[in-house]
């Protein structure tokens, strides 16, 4: 189904003349240039469970010519008792993609107490501020927003029990999704394995491993988990920053799904 949509999507890209975009500067395959960042979709607000940690994501993709793409990205994460979060991440890589000019750190502060989110730009000393709508009553995870249901009929879930990871008790599960032989033109069955370790105390995934023979392997882990209250200053805009309301360029992100591309 998704493959079908992909093809429609790809076809849409072509027939729409690449959506009327002006050709940008020539970039190499696998490169990208960050324009800006912001919060997106739903965010989980957890109050009463402060922590700070270093998140490390490693991505490995095997190419058909035998070469490998390997990327490692890190992020500093913090959350206070009120549910405010701060993420400092360098967008030097996104999966197999690599930033053309390296990655400058972007700080994102999510403040449900003040109903504001901020994206700090250290180079221009500016903070983009956006209002947070009232809390939803929907379930806390944003899975439905981004997770296709594909392959669920072939999924097998195993309980891996409880393990202490980086000093935090975590519950593990392994989900194996099988793509039967022939379903995607594959000669043999493809097993896609996802192992997730979730801390019920912190309400975060502390470690995950994904192995997908089609796209590569990724591991994500929170290191140096500290459960003391982080410095409150982490969740405020520095006084020497200029706060600007709204998104850069003042234009909303445009809706352009596969249907629109046709």
């Amino acid at each position: 189904m998704i493959r079908g949509v992909s093809i429609v999507f790809a076809a849409g890209l072509i027939t729409s003349g690449l959506f009327g975009q002006r050709p940008g500067p020539r970039m190499e395959h696998g490169d990208f240039a960050l324009v800006h960042a912001e919060f997106g979709g739903q965010n989980k607000v957890v109050q009463g469970a402060p922590y700070s940690a270093q998140a490390v994501t490693q991505f490995t993709q095997a190419l058909p010519n035998g070469d490998h793409i390997q990327r490692t990205t890190t992020a500093s994460m913090a959350r206070d008792s009120q549910g405010r979060t701060r993420t400092e991440r360098s967008f030097g890589a996104i999966g197999a993609l690599s930033a053309e000019r390296g990655g400058t750190p972007t700080v994102m502060i999510f403040d449900p107490v003040a109903s504001k989110s901020y994206v700090l730009d250290a180079s221009s000393r500016t903070a983009r501020s956006m209002a947070i709508p009232a809390p939803h009553t929907r379930p806390a995870d944003a899975e439905a927003h981004a997770r296709p249901e594909r392959g669920q009929a072939f999924a097998k879930t195993e309980d891996l029990g409880t393990q202490v990871i980086q000093g935090v008790s975590a519950q593990g599960k392994r989900v194996t999704r099988a793509i039967p032989a022939g379903k995607e033109g594959n000669e043999k069955e493809i097993d896609i394995v996802t192992e997730t370790w979730y801390s019920p105390d912190l309400h975060v995934v502390v470690m995950s491993k994904t192995s997908d023979p089609r796209f590569g392997d990724s591991t994500y882990q929170l290191n140096a988990i500290n459960r003391t209250e982080p410095d409150p200053a982490l969740f405020t805009v520095p006084s020497d920053y200029t706060v600007k309301e709204g998104r850069p360029e003042g234009r909303p992100m445009m809706r352009r799904g596969p249907e629109a591309a046709q």
Binding site: I2, S6, A10, I14, L18, F19, P23, G24, P25, M27, D31, F32, A33, L34, V35, H36, E38, F39, G40, G41, Q42, N43, K44, V45, V46, Q47, G48, A49, A55, T57, G83, T87, F91, A93, I94, G95, A96, M108, I132, P133, P135, P139, A140, A142, E143, H145, A146, P148, R177, T194, V204, V205, T210, D212, R214, G216, Y220, M253, M254, G257
Partner: protein, 160 residues
């Protein structure tokens, strides 16, 4: 009371009957001593019978108290109250329209999402599992990528 005392009780009664039949004379020393001993024994027995139920009640109460204190002490300390809810950081209509990436279907659920707008060659979409036409591969486009907490892309939306 010991077995010897029980065994000698009929003998003591016989001695007392003989003594009563002989008239009001002072009892011999050995009879008096045994009589006193028998009185003391009866008294001890009465005391025991009187206190035993109360001792049982007290013991049961003590055990109950011990069990209660122990169970209370073994209860985990009340955990700090944790509340979880979800909010959309921006208006919902401005974050939908995303197309799930095939490469993301095995990734863990998104806990906290972020959107990055990137400029990238069409060919880079191939690396995320999106099939593209080779003729357009070199062209550069703008796209929004929905990232999870791990910084990996879950969905893409093309920017007009």
């Amino acid at each position: 009371m010991n077995e010897k005392d029980v065994d000698n009780l009929p003998e003591l009664l016989d001695d007392l009957r003989i003594l009563a039949a002989d008239g009001p004379v002072e009892a011999p020393g050995h009879i008096e001593a045994r009589l006193r001993m028998e009185f003391r024994r009866k008294k001890r027995r009465r005391n025991l019978v009187t206190w035993t139920p109360w001792l049982g009640v007290a013991a049961a109460a003590s055990i109950a108290l011990f069990v209660w204190i122990r169970s209370e002490s073994q209860k985990p300390a009340p955990a700090p109250e944790v509340a979880v809810h979800a909010v959309a950081p921006v208006a919902e209509e401005e974050t939908d329209g995303f197309y799930p990436l095939p490469e993301a279907e095995a990734l863990p659920a998104v806990e906290n999402a972020m959107v990055v707008r990137v400029q990238l060659p069409v060919s880079s979409l191939q690396l995320m599992g999106v099939p593209v036409n080779e003729e357009s591969a070199d062209l550069s486009v703008q796209a929004d990528l929905l990232l999870g907490q791990d910084g990996l892309a879950r969905a893409v939306r093309l920017v007009e």
